[in-house]
């Protein structure tokens, strides 16, 4: 556990970004760097002087701290400061993008000029002075103490005259353990986190819980047997199993894949794509969750969006470009890793609505199958819908009871096929601990998942 003195010391780096969101972002960009409305206006004019439908400016100042303790000593601490501006010019479905980490006026103007190269028709009239509307939004992650491993401060200014400011706390606490018995060694890992401050760790027993969970996992695996192989019923425990949704339906419902026609779900709006027990949402509004956002990285407000309603496909996750293409409102899913990346449709927190079956009854219904409680991750092939996810703690279930822990296997399925085989949904809905990071096109963003206990009547278990 980090000692309290160290925390205080490190927080001195953070003095400059303490305080409320508005005041903080204002202080960093306006006061310290002199980036005021006049500057935004000039940069946007430069970005659009070759034409284009829309331009936006994404300013970021982020401060990351990390501390590593290993073998009983605090081995390393690291601090990283990253700042920069991303300039985007959009014309139809074309994107011109440039960024500058140098926030002096000439460097920013140069980036705006580079991004403008994509456009060739003047559709936006450049007025001499754009009037900006300072928009205030609900804060889904107010924080008392701001020391964390990531502080992202962003500000978006767009050619439509909107300015949005946000301070995005991000905290993550992880424990890795190994357990040894004779020749056998096993790993355990556990973590917690979210858009929270240090008060999160101080106000609860989280560090002890996480440490125990990690150690217990390693010890459990020492006694685990090889997993079975072949198609069988798969029980998914609450919370972390939400990875299933992330891979099986989440990625394929990101609208860019559908706009390009590469997703297995392209052109299937209104069709049945899952069991009637499935109502699936993606929402950036889950307070303090790792996937939460007050507004997305192109300034659209987040909301609770229905993706699948009682098995029927109802909506994709959009960024501005795909929303324009489909003539819909953006859903608040335009996200980017940093100022150095342009936004893409991405998930926030993806979850399956609660069912009404007692989870004990679900487990009792299974003659022979596997029960999976925690996972190391997953992956999906968008075009054919095949996905994998990899359990770390799991048990063989025989005659409705946990028989013994099992190890070393991958679950593989096909999105629409697996979702149609969800035959029971529990009433124990939970959101996963905030530990997930999603990768797409070389960009990583924090996400959340959630799920009640679920039974998939048949899925391929890849053991030995």
């Amino acid at each position: 556990m980090p000692n309290p003195e160290l925390k205080m010391k490190q927080s001195s780096f953070l003095d400059q970004v303490n305080g409320s969101t508005e005041a903080t972002v204002g202080k960093v960009f306006e006061q310290q760097m002199g980036i005021d409305e006049r500057v935004l206006d000039r940069l946007l004019n430069r970005a659009l002087d070759q034409g284009g439908d829309f331009a936006d400016l994404f300013f970021e100042y982020s401060l990351r701290h990390s501390v590593v303790m290993e073998e009983g000593i605090i081995k390393n601490s690291a601090v990283a400061i990253i700042s920069g501006l991303g300039v985007r010019v959009v014309e139809g479905d074309q994107t011109g993008y440039a960024y500058s980490e140098d926030l002096n006026y000439d460097a920013m103007l140069h980036a705006a000029g580079t991004a403008s190269a994509i456009a060739h028709s003047g559709q936006v009239k450049i007025n001499e002075a754009r009037r900006f509307n300072q928009q205030n939004v609900k804060n889904h992650y107010p924080v008392l103490k701001t020391i964390s491993d990531l502080e992202l401060t962003s500000k978006i200014g767009s050619s439509e005259g909107v300015i949005l400011r946000d301070t995005r706390p991000m905290f993550r606490f992880n424990v890795h353990s190994i357990a040894q018995e004779g020749d056998q060694i096993q790993n355990g890992t556990a973590g917690v986190g979210g858009r929270v401050g240090l008060d999160f760790l101080e106000s609860t027993d989280h560090p002890i819980e996480v440490g125990s969970k990690s150690a217990q996992e390693a010890i459990l695996l020492l006694g685990a047997k090889q997993a079975p192989s072949g198609p069988m019923p798969v029980l998914l425990g609450p919370a972390q199993s939400g990875i299933l949704l992330h891979e099986a339906v989440g990625h394929p419902l990101e609208a860019d894949f559908n706009r390009k026609g590469t997703s297995a779900y392209s052109g299937r709006m209104g069709e049945k794509v899952a069991s009637e027990l499935c109502t699936i949402y993606d929402a950036g509004t889950v307070d303090h969750d790792r996937g939460a956002l007050n507004f997305d990285d192109e300034g659209s407000l987040t909301g609770e969006n229905v993706l699948i309603e009682r098995g029927t496909l109802r909506g994709y996750m959009h960024d501005r470009i795909s929303a324009d293409y489909y003539k819909l409102n953006p859903t608040g899913n335009g996200r980017r890793e940093s100022y150095a990346h342009y936004p893409l449709p991405r998930m926030t927190t993806t979850y399956l609505a609660n069912g009404d079956t007692d989870p004990e009854d679900i487990i009792r219904s299974v003659k022979k199958g596997v029960y999976c409680a925690s996972f190391s991750g997953g992956q999906v092939d968008i075009s054919n819908g095949d996905f994998v996810f990899v359990p770390t703690t799991a048990w063989l279930v025989e005659d409705g009871r946990f028989s013994h822990p099992i190890k070393n296997f991958t679950l593989i399925g096909n999105g629409p096929d697996a979702m149609s085989k969800i035959s029971m949904v529990g009433n124990d809905f939970a959101i996963s601990e905030g530990i997930w990071t999603c990768g797409k096109d070389g960009q990583s963003v924090p996400v959340g998942v959630g799920l009640p206990t679920v039974l998939i009547s048949e899925m391929t278990v890849g053991g030995m």
Binding site: I81, G378, V390, N408
Partner: protein, 452 residues
């Protein structure tokens, strides 16, 4: 650029020592990149940018901290260095952290051909035109093909590393890539027992890319288009195979993935943490006697080549496995101190990991199998370096009577590293040069297939 960075490194080292640091190491990097994506004869995205970063490690009394920033100005770095040093006493003492032995540091004397002299000679318009032509070429191969993305990227990067031992070197590298990603509707053949009826929108996608330090070494438009087209079309109508135990040919790309994981298990950091199934196997036979695996940093033009590692330790070739016997781990200074050895120059990982090619063509590898799998894709995180367990989502082509037959998907392959290493019985001869892992395809005698 390099001169400027060498100066910044000198200044940061001096400043840190003056403020009380005992050991300092500094790395600076800068990359300018250009990325272009085309789809349906339309530019989807054009991105141009330069990015840079400085990374400083400060140590005193066997305690250390690191700081990084993308702002190189001394007025930004000075207060950061000061506050980092102020916080140092709060750290634990770690006697294993040291700078490298100065006798091991230095720059290998060889021209590694890092930089394309013609790098700046191609205008954006030419790159756009090339992609438009490449897309036309790819679409002309078969009417079922559609474009997912045609992409071009190039970059020039500058790197400088220095430390308070007195090591200070820099280099610059160019890199360019061309890629074709295609997809096609896959009506699929209805297979018994599977409920593919819900999956009416099924498609298959694949592609090919070429990547090199020199633009002239990129594959031709015709080759790129043809390979991307063939690889996409050969997946159409894929079925789920029955569970069984069969020989598997790892295509070069899958061989790269497998050997990349194996290399992680040979990294000193994983060995001293007991995160490696090989931790107690030094000097033992761990693989088929055919196997000779080495790390080769001094190959001109290859993507992983380097003159020194991330700590300035001079690069030298290192034999890892010879005649199936494990001869060395790959160590940084820290992991070497932990394991009571010498750094092998592997701070920052492998350079070019090379499996010595055998004499078989890919056709001969396939022809050696009566009933088995030609593996072309893997997915998921099912690689456990600690235990050596291996279970991955897979796709490929089934091999029947020595020939490639139907495409297969939605199944897993499983085994363990020790079994797989001993089961590599035939090694191919054709090496894929696009990776820092230089390997041909190979045959593994038996793996567990979990399907229907």
């Amino acid at each position: 650029m390099i001169e400027r960075y060498l100066n910044i490194a000198r200044e940061v080292i001096d400043l840190s020592l003056k403020q009380g640091a005992e050991q300092v190491s500094v790395s600076l990097a800068n990359a300018t990149s250009f990325q272009l994506e085309v789809r349906n004869q339309n530019i989807e995205a054009l991105k141009e940018a330069g990015s840079s970063g400085i990374h400083v490690t400060l140590a005193k009394n066997q305690k250390r901290s690191t700081l990084s920033s993308n702002d190189f100005r001394l007025e930004t770095l000075e207060p950061l260095i000061r506050s980092t040093l102020e916080a140092l006493p709060l750290m634990g003492e770690d006697p294993f952290y040291t700078l490298p032995d100065p006798k091991l540091q230095g720059k290998a004397e060889i021209d590694l051909q890092f930089r394309d002299p013609n790098f700046e000679k191609m205008a954006s318009n030419e790159k756009i035109n090339e992609l438009m032509l490449l897309e036309k070429e790819a679409l002309s191969i078969d009417s079922r093909l559609q474009t997912e993305e045609i992409s071009f990227s190039d970059s020039i990067s500058y790197m400088v590393h220095g430390d308070s031992n007195g090591f200070l070197e820099g280099c610059s590298k160019t890199l360019c890539s061309l890629g074709v990603s295609m997809f096609a509707e896959d009506g699929g053949e209805e297979t018994e027992g599977s409920s593919q009826s819900l999956n009416t929108g099924r498609k298959q996608s694949d592609g090919w890319y070429s990547s090199s330090r020199f633009r002239k070494d990129l594959e031709s438009r015709e080759d790129l288009a043809r390979k991307a087209g063939e690889r996409t079309l050969r997946k159409l109508g894929s079925v789920k195979p029955k569970s069984c135990e069969v020989p598997v040919v790892f295509s070069t790309e899958m061989a790269q993935s497998f050997l990349g994981s194996l290399a992680s298990a040979m990294m000193g950091d994983n060995v001293f943490r007991k995160h490696s199934f090989l931790k107690d196997s030094l000097g033992e036979t761990v693989a088929n006697p055919e196997i000779r695996l080495s790390d080769e940093p001094l190959l001109p033009g290859k993507l992983g080549s380097r003159h020194y590692d991330n700590e300035g330790v001079k690069a030298t070739p290192l034999m890892l496995i010879d005649q199936g016997k494990l001869l060395s781990f790959m160590c940084s200074t820290y992991s070497a101190n932990k394991l009571d050895r010498q750094s092998t120059g592997h701070a920052g990982g492998i350079s070019n990991l090379m499996l010595k090619p055998g004499s078989y063509s890919d056709e001969e590898l396939i022809a050696s199998i009566d009933n088995g799998l030609y593996l072309t894709g893997m997915s998921g995180q099912g690689v456990n370096l600690t235990t050596g367990d291996y279970s991955r989502g897979a796709q490929g082509l089934w091999i029947r009577k020595g020939k490639l037959a139907e495409p297969v998907s939605e199944f897993t392959i499983a085994s363990t590293f020790p079994e797989m290493l001993k089961g590599i019985s035939m090694i191919g001869s054709e090496v894929d040069e696009r990776s820092t892992i230089l390997t041909p395809a190979f045959r593994i005698d038996s793996m567990n297939i979990s399907g229907s």
